[in-house]
């Protein structure tokens, strides 16, 4: 079936409320750099959706400083981190509170170069809601991270997501379709789509785009309040092109899953994609800034779109 790229680009632009003039959109096939340097990357104003503090040594502050040093080498302006100094699949409330404390300590050391999402466990809904208020409504964090403690269709998730919607912050829901089999509490993109349908006011990110992105993109494409998070999978060619084709560029978000993944491999998915330069800018940073606008404004953090 022939693909109408202009229609996709138009869809992306319209999702942005007409902020971009169609006449200014270069063609996808227009000449673009194939060799990037730091300065040309800085001009893209890259914000990274997906970072962790695990896998490297030192205190929280030392870890985040070390990771950001390499982010800067690739021109990345800001990285969103979540979870603590170690991965806990089903953390008790005292554990996720400790993780979030570690994260907030790291963010203090990072200054304006990092942001954070609160890590919650839907198996403890009451405690999670309290933590959401502590860290987001009354604290510095600007989103919610849900991992593999419970699937996105589990009972405790909906209350968390509704509260996040009230606070106008996005929810990053880890999703995978693993040929080798998912963990018991591991969500698929279809789970995320059901969650998005149940809470249409929420802004939900399907993490990893499901890993098997050809399945993941299909699963989320009919839900306008679902975004595709690109980070944390191999840099296979075609991922970003399909995401833009099916979702529109405005619903696609660059992230790295650092430090387990390299910034390079994950940035390359976008930089090497055959899409228009304006679509790359959206995916690499503008979309995330827009998604976080309300949360940042509530905390008095100025941000240029």
């Amino acid at each position: 079936m022939p693909l109408d790229r202009r229609a996709f680009i138009r869809g992306s632009a319209l999702t942005l409320g007409g902020a971009l003039s169609l006449r200014r959109l270069p063609r996808a096939g227009a000449a673009q750099p194939t060799i990037w340097d730091r300065r040309s990357l800085q001009r893209l104003r890259i914000w990274d959706l997906h970072g962790h503090l695990t896998g490297v040594g030192g205190t929280a502050a030392e870890r985040i400083r070390w990771i950001l040093r390499y982010a800067r080498r690739l021109g990345i302006e800001r990285v969103v981190f979540f979870m603590g100094l170690r991965f806990r699949r089903n953390p008790a409330p005292r554990e996720f509170r400790r993780d979030n404390d570690d994260l907030m300590r790291a963010l203090e050391a990072a200054g304006e170069h990092a942001l954070g999402f609160v890590y919650l466990n839907p198996n403890y809904p009451e405690e999670s809601l309290q933590e959401l208020d502590r860290c987001v409504r009354n604290g510095p964090l600007v989103g919610v991270k849900l991992w593999v403690a419970a699937r996105a269709t589990a009972a405790g998730v909906l209350a968390i997501v509704r509260r996040a919607a009230e606070l106008r912050v996005p929810v990053y829901q880890h999703t995978w379709y693993k040929t080798t089999g998912n963990l018991p509490g591991e969500s698929t993109p279809e789970d995320a789509a059901r969650l998005a349908a149940a809470c249409p006011g929420a802004k939900i990110i399907a993490g990893h785009t499901g890993g098997q992105w050809e399945l993941g993109i299909r699963a989320i494409r009919r839900r306008g309040n679902l975004w595709a998070g690109l980070g944390g999978s191999d840099p296979t060619a075609g991922m970003v092109e399909m995401a833009v084709r099916e979702l529109g560029a405005a619903r696609v978000l660059y992230g790295s899953d650092c430090p387990g993944r390299s910034f390079a491999s994950q940035l390359a998915k976008v930089l090497g994609a055959e899409i228009a330069p304006v679509e790359k800018r959206l995916i690499l940073g503008a979309n995330l800034r827009r998604l976080l606008t309300a949360a940042l404004a509530a905390k008095g953090i100025p941000v240029q779109p």
Partner: protein
């Protein structure tokens, strides 16, 4: 100048790829600063007539490469008369090496036929590439799940045939750098960076693996070329390290291994 030791011509069985056309691939490589690319052929994964596959690999490299693409043949030592296929790679196609797919061809490296293959490789001064992994096992097609290659038998093979250089393709997600450090003592073993992950990955790899053993590999067209290119930018590398990985190691390896 970059030498990319891991590209494929032919068709990936599960997806259309933008650069799976030899002309488009050559154009992309050239525009990205790659001056030489060692090319296998995805058709070798599932085709049985590997003589035809190797013929096409050589033909496409000549027709579209203009000196850019270096053809590597494929041999499956489980097939009848694989020895003739190997000899054709050497004599007819003048290939400097072979790319092996033990996972897709269904054998282990401790298969006695692999020893015979190494003996012939040494005799004909071929380098060998072993495709340890082509795709994350979590994303493989459910009807074609291919495990990573067990590399333990390589220790004995490299001891028995110390003049056969072996390049591991896609090994760096399945073998830890700590394991690799020990494996470097086995003999002339090399790795490429296409599946290397982690912040500052190349720099961290070089803390355990000598820079002379690390090669630039993109795994194009399944992976985007920019991934490997940007890894060299992400890590803090000396000029010496950059040059070694970008081209010098591969050039030395190939110059010593041209078929007689």
């Amino acid at each position: 100048m970059i030498v990319d030791v891991n590209v494929h011509l032919g068709r990936w069985p599960f997806r259309y790829l933008r650069h799976d056309d030899p002309a488009r691939m050559a154009k992309k490589l050239r525009s990205s600063g790659v001056g030489q690319a060692w090319a296998g052929n995805f058709d070798a994964l599932l085709h049985v007539d590997l003589d035809a596959v190797n013929h096409n690999t050589a033909l496409w490299c000549r027709r579209w490469g203009g000196g850019l693409l270096v053809p590597l043949g494929s041999v499956n030592p489980r097939l009848p008369d694989w020895q003739t296929t190997l000899l054709r790679c050497v004599q007819r196609h003048k290939m400097p090496g072979l790319r092996l797919y033990p996972g897709y061809h269904g054998y282990q490296l401790d298969d006695p036929a692999v020893g015979e293959l190494f003996r012939l490789a040494q005799q004909h001064r071929l380098l060998l590439q072993v495709a340890v992994r082509l795709e994350d096992p979590r994303t493989q097609h459910p009807l074609l799940q291919v495990p990573d290659v067990n590399l333990a038998p390589l220790q004995g093979l490299l001891k028995a045939f110390p003049r056969v250089p072996v390049v591991l393709l896609g090994a760096l997600r399945s073998v830890s750098t700590r394991e690799l450090e020990a494996m470097m003592d086995w003999g002339p073993l090399y790795v490429e960076i296409s599946m290397l992950e982690g912040t500052a990955g190349v720099q961290r790899l070089l803390q355990r693996v000598p820079r002379q053993r690390v090669l630039f590999g993109s795994h194009m067209p399944l992976f985007v070329l920019e991934s490997a290119l940007l890894k060299l930018m992400e890590s803090e590398l000396s000029q010496e390290e950059q040059e070694a990985i970008r081209h010098r190691n591969a050039q030395v390896l190939l110059s010593g291994k041209k078929p007689s």
